[in-house]
């Protein structure tokens, strides 16, 4: 083994600390501002801590703003999207990896080609479709287009292909059907990759802006990022402490999720990102 501590380690540590402070500073500044009395938020020279530390802004934001409602909307839409995406993608991926049917190759090719379609360029036709279906200002308008995620199918398809068929074979011999094998053997076996894909989908959905922004004009169906953007764009005489309190509250859930699920998220990003290889 190498030495546990050396000069080079010390230098690296100092560099890393400096960069980490630099990288965390904007977030720390948001937190610091949110804890100041409103009158001191734009003081020059800058002060990290105001004359008092107060939670007034949080109280005001939570009490009067729509932020709680938007957080609930975001949670519901992100959970439903993630559940549907992972379930339907896993079923499709399994169908492609383990069964045979007419037209299978053509269908798989069509789905893989879909990976190249950027959702951002489809906003106009998708919007027209949502108007025609009467789904504007509903959660389904936010959820359904995000469920059509060919990349997730591809990631899971690759994974299922690598699962040794012997594991399923035993269950078939015992007389279990395809569906039972899928739900009681394949899915539990795939828990790590499913967790990775779920977390990735959840993060993407929670943070999505453009599409939810287009299809929710009613404050009651808005997600957190859309509601927040509307508040800031429509506010005269900005109240910085309150805005930063909103920003902290909106950013907090995923940071907490990250701290709790660090390993899965790291794996999720690595896995989903590497799927293109």
């Amino acid at each position: 083994m190498t030495k546990r501590f050396s000069i080079s380690q010390l230098i690296l540590l100092v560099v890393a600390l400096a960069l980490a402070i630099l990288w965390l500073a904007p977030i720390a500044w948001a937190v610091a501002t949110s804890l100041k009395p409103e009158s001191e938020t734009t003081k020059i020279p800058l002060e990290w801590i105001g004359s008092e530390i107060t939670l007034d802004s949080y109280q005001l934001v939570l009490g009067t703003g729509g932020i709680v409602k938007w957080a609930i909307n975001s949670t519901i839409t992100a959970v439903i999207t993630t559940f549907l995406t992972v379930l339907l993608s896993a079923m499709a991926a399994y169908g492609f990896a383990r069964t045979q049917f007419r037209g299978q190759r053509a269908l798989l090719a069509i789905i893989l080609a879909g990976i190249m379609v950027p959702p951002q360029v489809l906003i106009a036709p998708l919007f027209a479709e949502m108007v025609a279906l009467g789904l504007v200002d509903t959660w389904w308008a936010i959820i359904l287009p995000q469920v059509a995620a060919p990349l997730i199918v591809y990631v899971l398809y690759k994974f299922f292909q690598d699962v040794p068929p012997e594991l399923e074979q035993a269950a078939f011999v015992d007389g279990a059907g395809r569906w039972r094998v899928f739900f009681t053997i394949v899915l539990p076996l795939s828990r790590p990759v499913l967790a990775a894909v779920s977390i990735f989908t959840f993060i993407t959905t929670w943070n999505n802006f453009l599409w939810p922004f287009l299809v929710s004009t009613d404050p009651n169906t808005m997600t957190l990022p859309v509601g927040l953007a509307n508040v800031v764009q429509g506010t005269f005489g900005l109240r910085y402490a309150q805005i930063m309190a909103s920003v902290v509250l909106a950013g907090l859930p995923l940071l907490v999720v990250f701290v709790l699920f660090q390993r899965q998220i790291v794996r999720g990003v690595a896995h989903t990102g590497l799927a293109g290889q």
Partner: protein, 307 residues
């Protein structure tokens, strides 16, 4: 991820695999069907519909829907604001991709070689990536960039015009983007670094290689595939930029930051010309497909060359 799977024990893997694959054929389509319905309705159909729209004069109300052939495309190619937004998109893509790849690599190398408080570095460098674009934009617009009380000018005692000057606005948007998204590349590089076999370094150490030698002749070459992947993911992500620019500058000042997605959005949703907006979108779509296919070919050539 395959490590979670128990080692196969059966004697005739080929036979069993064939059996598992061949059985229950009639269920195959049922597994695929639910996804397929959503996929066709919300991805395939809008892709076709968008192409049709781009050749029509349809407005946001869905009326005046006459087919005009390639008129919208001809108009777009003659439209200086389309070219400006396309140019802005290219500038943003180039300016953001370089630091996002290099810093991602730098952070990963740094963290990989540190034995202390790994969670802290991961949280610091990756944390911002978890924030919604709206949160990041509002934070930087309201509290980091303002001329006097903003965190940067306030700390440094400068009065740099970040987002309000056409010559600096794009740079500022890129800076925010780098801060926000570098964590993703950082994690990809970190994962790649951790998968390099340790014995390569031990062998090099026996040969008396310095840290620099090891980096140059082991680490960087073995990161080649990851770098190629990160570059293409980054190019594709940057070409689609919208959120932070729309929220921080609205495309201004003087159109200096407006990306092509925003131009399409403006034309379609505030200018009411959905047909024209679709044509602009499909021009970007074509560019993205070309970049993807070029990358695919590059990957293939590399894979053939290395095998």
């Amino acid at each position: 991820m395959t490590t979670t799977v128990a080692a196969p024990a059966a004697a005739t893997p080929a036979a069993t695999e064939a059996k598992v694959r061949r059985g229950w054929t009639q269920h195959g389509l049922l597994f695929v069907a639910p996804f397929l319905v959503i996929y066709v309705v919300f991805l395939v159909w809008p892709t076709i519909l968008g192409l049709r729209m781009s050749m029509s004069s349809v407005n946001i109300a869905g009326t005046n829907d006459n087919m005009v052939g390639f008129d919208n495309y001809a108009e777009a190619f003659a439209d200086p604001r389309m070219w400006r937004s396309l140019w802005n998109t290219v500038v943003f893509t180039v300016l953001s991709t370089v630091p996002l790849v290099l810093l991602g690599l730098g952070f990963a190398l740094l963290v990989h070689h540190l034995r202390f408080v790994q969670w802290l570095w991961r949280l610091s460098f990756f944390g911002p990536f978890l924030l919604p674009s709206a949160v990041v934009s509002i934070l930087w617009l309201q509290m980091i960039y303002p001329p006097d009380y903003g965190l940067i000018n306030g700390t440094l005692g400068t009065d740099f015009t970040w987002l309000t000057d056409p010559s600096t606005a794009m740079f500022s948007v890129v800076l925010t983007t780098v801060w926000w998204t570098v964590g993703f590349n950082f994690l990809l590089y970190l994962a790649a670094l951790q998968s390099i076999p340790q014995h390569l370094y031990e062998a090099a150490a026996i040969d008396g290689a310095s840290a620099w030698d090891k980096l140059r002749s082991i680490t960087l070459p073995l990161l080649g595939r990851t770098t190629a992947l990160i570059v293409v993911l980054q190019l594709l992500a940057s070409l689609k930029v919208f959120d932070q620019i729309y929220l921080m500058t609205g495309g201004g000042p003087e159109d200096s930051t407006r990306p092509i997605i925003e131009y399409a959005y403006d034309m379609g949703f505030t200018g009411y010309r959905i047909g024209y907006a679709s044509a602009v979108s499909y021009i970007l779509f074509a560019i993205i497909v070309i970049v993807s296919l070029a990358q695919l070919r590059l990957f293939r050539k590399r894979a053939e060359g290395s095998s």
